[in-house]
Symmetry: C2
Subunit: 409 residues, 2 copies
């Protein structure tokens, strides 16, 4: 049995965290640096942006995950992305890791680093190094410490995003905690903005990497806020083995429970990112059913969740199903438009609006009522097979434009 507990990245045994203001972001009060620390060496896995323009921390972490597969700490800053910063940017990642290694008494190659914020600006290393010095003594295993860290990694997000769950593996309680940030430039491809998952499970590193890659495909990679795949997308998982279970392998009886719990954490965080997209008012969930394959179902649901016109219609509470059908049509999937059924749902009810590819007999008034609810779900059935997939996004609002027209100023 799996259960949710109130906490985040400090929930699992042996993990501590901190979040505070170092002075990277403008303003005077915003937290902008976080640290996660494991008391024991933790196997680590990661997925990263497929954008060929990769931020310096992505290059640093990719190398560490591939060559070491084990880590003790993660240092994260918001405000500056350390992307498009050339050799100086990469050297700054090494300096950050060296500084953290020094204050924590670990190896430089055991320190992962992540950044999010404005592209093309160098980190002020004196500020970052001072931040690392302050973070080390602030590390705690408390719920508050997890919360501080989750707050410190945000940019234009409106609230922090964290979760923790527990499951049983070999009769031992295994805990998985996670936090993430999202908001803009969200259209992950093999990763997401920044997500951090900590667990006390014992697990083989290659298996952890494989599970993570597969689960990210169905969770973070099914989220889109604006179609822009960031230079910094990173999802890191650290497992330190302190739960005391036998090391999980592909054959372990306890693996399905761990995997299910990990999936729950990733799905929750993915939906949190979608529902807090820049300027958005509502989470928009699109479920495609009856597709001929899972790939086809994913193409269709993701195409609808990415359509600017559909997103604007959700904002306007307009049951403009023609735009949904149109986005399905250009998704690249093949289906018979004359067999499509569409149902709209929210906490205000459920309504069939398309039957066999044309308008069902529905009331616009009821449709508007449902679209004023939260979250908004579109259920698409293409009647071509058994496969299903879900994609998450949000509505497109004036506020999105405002945020992104003014972001740097």
């Amino acid at each position: 049995m799996m259960k949710e507990i109130p906490s985040g990245v400090t929930a699992a045994k042996g993990f501590r965290a901190a979040g505070l203001r170092a002075g990277i972001k403008a303003g005077k009060t915003n937290k902008d640096m976080a640290m996660i620390y494991s008391e024991a060496p933790a196997v680590c896995a990661g997925t990263f942006t497929r954008n060929i323009v990769k931020a310096a921390p992505v290059l640093w972490d990719q190398k560490l995950v591939a060559e070491e597969g084990s880590a003790r700490a993660v240092v994260i800053n918001s405000g500056i992305a350390n992307a498009c910063t050339g050799e100086e940017g990469y050297a700054n990642c090494a300096k950050e890791a060296a500084k953290a290694a020094e204050v924590l008494g670990v190896n430089q190659k055991e320190v992962l680093v992540c950044s999010t914020g404005v592209i093309g600006v160098q980190l002020a290393m004196d500020v970052v190094e001072k931040g690392i010095e302050m973070l080390s003594p602030a590390l705690e295993s408390s719920v508050q410490a997890a919360s501080d860290a989750a707050e410190a990694i945000l940019t234009t997000d409106t609230h922090k995003k964290e979760i923790a769950v527990q499951c049983e593996v070999d009769g031992k309680t295994v805990t998985i905690g996670g936090m993430c940030k999202g908001s803009g430039m969200i259209h992950p491809n093999m990763g997401t903005m920044l997500a951090f998952v900590t667990s006390d499970a014992a697990i083989e590193q290659p298996l952890l990497q494989q599970i993570l890659r597969e689960e990210v495909e169905d969770t973070f990679n099914m989220v889109s806020v604006d179609g822009d795949t960031s230079t910094n997308d990173t999802c890191l998982v650290l497992c330190n083995g302190m739960a005391g279970n036998d090391i999980l392998t592909a054959e372990s009886a306890g693996l399905p429970a761990f995997r299910q719990a990990l999936r729950e954490v990733l799905t929750y965080l993915a939906k949190q990112i979608a529902g807090d997209g820049e300027g958005c008012t509502r989470l928009f969930e699109v479920v495609c059913r009856g597709a001929s394959s899972r790939e086809e179902a994913k193409k269709i649901s993701k195409s609808v969740v990415c359509s600017s016109l559909t997103k604007a219609a959700v904002f306007g509470k307009d049951a403009n199903w023609g735009r949904i059908l149109c986005a399905m049509g250009y998704s690249g999937a093949s289906f018979d438009p004359e067999k499509v059924d569409i149902v709209l749902e929210s906490d205000k009810g459920s309504l069939a609006i398309v039957k066999d590819g044309i308008a069902a007999d529905y009331s616009e008034e009821t449709a508007t009522e449902i679209l004023s609810g939260h979250p908004v779900r579109a259920l698409l059935d293409v009647h071509a097979g058994e496969a299903e997939a879900t994609a998450w996004g949000c509505d497109l609002t004036y506020e999105y434009v405002k945020i992104n027209a003014d972001y740097r100023s």
Copy 2:
């Protein structure tokens, strides 16, 4: 030598047009039906949306172009797209063509039909048929008649889009005129919203179709307003041979002049669509140079022109080059990010903002000044080869969201 003349679809010999209000659109004054008529049979070519959800008129026109390759008239309505309307929608296309054939004294299979507007609503055929009856006696070869037709096909466009040019073929003056409408759901793939080109050139039908397909790839298919490929995209070209030139074949000495003139018309109309995108304040032109192939150059320039974040930054006059580099990075093209140069241009000047993948030494004040100009151009050089491509789009504004949140109401 090619020259531009003031007119549109009635500029070429033997073409007449009309535009008037039949009563399809809401309101009391907006024109909503247009007709184009050729005094002699005209070979016709067309490109159409690749969205698998195709509007009924697209299916009608595709069949006519493929099976007949010749036409006498085009009937166009705005207000209702006749898309996702099932068998009744297709039957209505046949009725429209039959009615026009009757009043014009031509064959039903010589009448092309086009619609644009709201998806999923049936045409009121009594209104449409009355419109056709009114259009026939209103047909004229005047500049005003072309203008009326260009006005009648608009939806949320803010102004009509038409052009006419003349060139010499075999010592004869050949005229090409065109009109189009765009605005929203603009991300054409093998076609555009609605574009109509008329010419008095004599040309073989298969050659016309081939030239059109190739030229559309470089013009309309390089435009994006919002990434949504419409169900109705259609570009039709009619050539009635009344200029008296020898019939153009692939070997004709006069072909390059005709092709160049056609390209000019299509490019002009494509840029007009981009610059009048829903809610947009400025045309945004992205030129990629130094690519390893034309395909790569197209991928890069189109990815940037489609990026919501970049478009919002253009609206906000923010030289956020990190977003441009990011969009280049997820375009699917391969290049070395550390070799990229970016220059921003407008009528207010030109400024190098990225050199070798990182910020050039430029003044933000000057960048903002340039971004307040019109049109805004981004010149991207990836230093990987000799290929070049241009894509056209527009900025993303509050107004885009407003229009599309409220479109149907």
